[in-house]
Symmetry: C2
Subunit: 226 residues, 2 copies
């Protein structure tokens, strides 16, 4: 369902060209559970942003569910993103003026989901992610790991078919990280395609397929023995 062919991403900084992604060929089937690891600066967030239609390649083709999405306009990309993809950003990107609950609710509100359904779903996620007592707090009134959990809850609230998570446990202690992982893995078991960027091998090794990025290239692509 996700096919990248010959993907290149080059950032221009003054007269310097940064090859963040080089010759990426990647095929990911619906429902796969994949981790992406590699050194700091190796291109993991860039790859995830590409797949999440938050960025465009300089060369190559990206097919999502069979259609070429590389050439879509910004608005078309935004619509595909809203309909299919839940994204957990490495640095969350929460709305500063909204409470934790309102941040989680926002995608539902934008999609026109009725108020009673929104309340039910947000209330459940507040409980699932251990945010009870923090619903009314704004992001600046939350700890780092609480903000991270709000970001993850928001990414799941529309029940997307693809979840892209950039370092989802980076600000969490081991126990809380395990709780978050069982929620995400529960969704993957239910058929969601889950792509997880992580620096924690204990987290990355749980995936059924593991990619390793170095200097913008995929240098390893292993399937765990079942």
């Amino acid at each position: 369902m996700i096919r990248l062919e010959g993907i290149q991403r080059i950032f221009q900084v003054g007269d310097q060209a940064v090859h963040a992604l080089r010759d990426i060929d990647l095929s990911i089937g619906a429902g796969e559970y994949l981790s992406i690891m590699g050194p700091s600066g190796s291109g993991k967030s860039t790859l995830l942003n590409m797949i999440g239609l938050l960025d465009r390649p300089n060369a190559g083709i990206y097919r999502l569910d069979g259609s070429d999405v590389t050439g879509l306009s910004d608005q078309e990309q935004a619509r595909v993103r809203r309909d299919k993809i839940g994204f957990v950003f490495q640095f969350f990107h929460l709305i500063p003026r909204l409470s934790a609950a309102a941040n989680i609710e926002l995608p539902l509100l934008l999609a026109g989901v009725p108020a009673d359904q929104r309340k039910t779903r947000v209330d459940q996620l507040i409980v699932d992610f251990g945010l009870t007592g923090r619903e009314t707090h704004r992001p600046d009134q939350l700890s780092g790991g609480q903000r991270q959990r709000v970001a993850i809850a928001r990414a799941t609230v529309m029940k997307p078919s693809v979840i892209l998570a950039d370092e989802p446990t980076g600000n969490l202690d081991r126990a809380t990280g395990q709780e978050v992982m069982s929620i995400l893995e529960g969704l993957a078991a239910g058929g969601v395609t889950l792509l997880l960027v992580t620096h924690d091998p204990e987290i990355g090794n749980r995936a059924s397929r593991k990619l390793r990025l170095v200097d913008g290239r995929i240098v390893a692509d292993e399937r765990a023995s079942s």
Copy 2:
């Protein structure tokens, strides 16, 4: 050199009182290397902010190098902070419009250090932290782990006597995290007082003294067997 006595920190959110720190008594000698671990939301960042004079307690006394700093004005706290403390924030707080090099240089510039000395010191830190080739990039043109390293470099650039680091390896792969830790531990070996908040037990266990926070209280304070 750091003495907290009866420290309380209560955040008010609407009609809810959040007891982020409860009855904190803590004595840290000059040159100690201490880690602070505990669940997400347990008060680690709040404690570090308190020690770093970025926040004030609601009750209790904080003595730094023998003098009561609890009652200092904002300006006086800022001056003590600038002179004595290097702070690595959980979410970096880099200046968006400045390059990596200019972000690292900023404390030196504010302190009136001459240009040639600033250049020498910043150039060395760029190399030490593996940021070669990224000096001119602004924060939004850096990876998460690169931003984190800029934040750490900035915290060390004035050679402060106390370094407070909030999750300094949270966005780093294992190898890069080890490099950063040897820089910080090198400073600690040279006499800097190093307080490190971390979710990674492999990192936290390296300290010679380990605190554990739960729900705003210190529940463990262990010295490693030498």
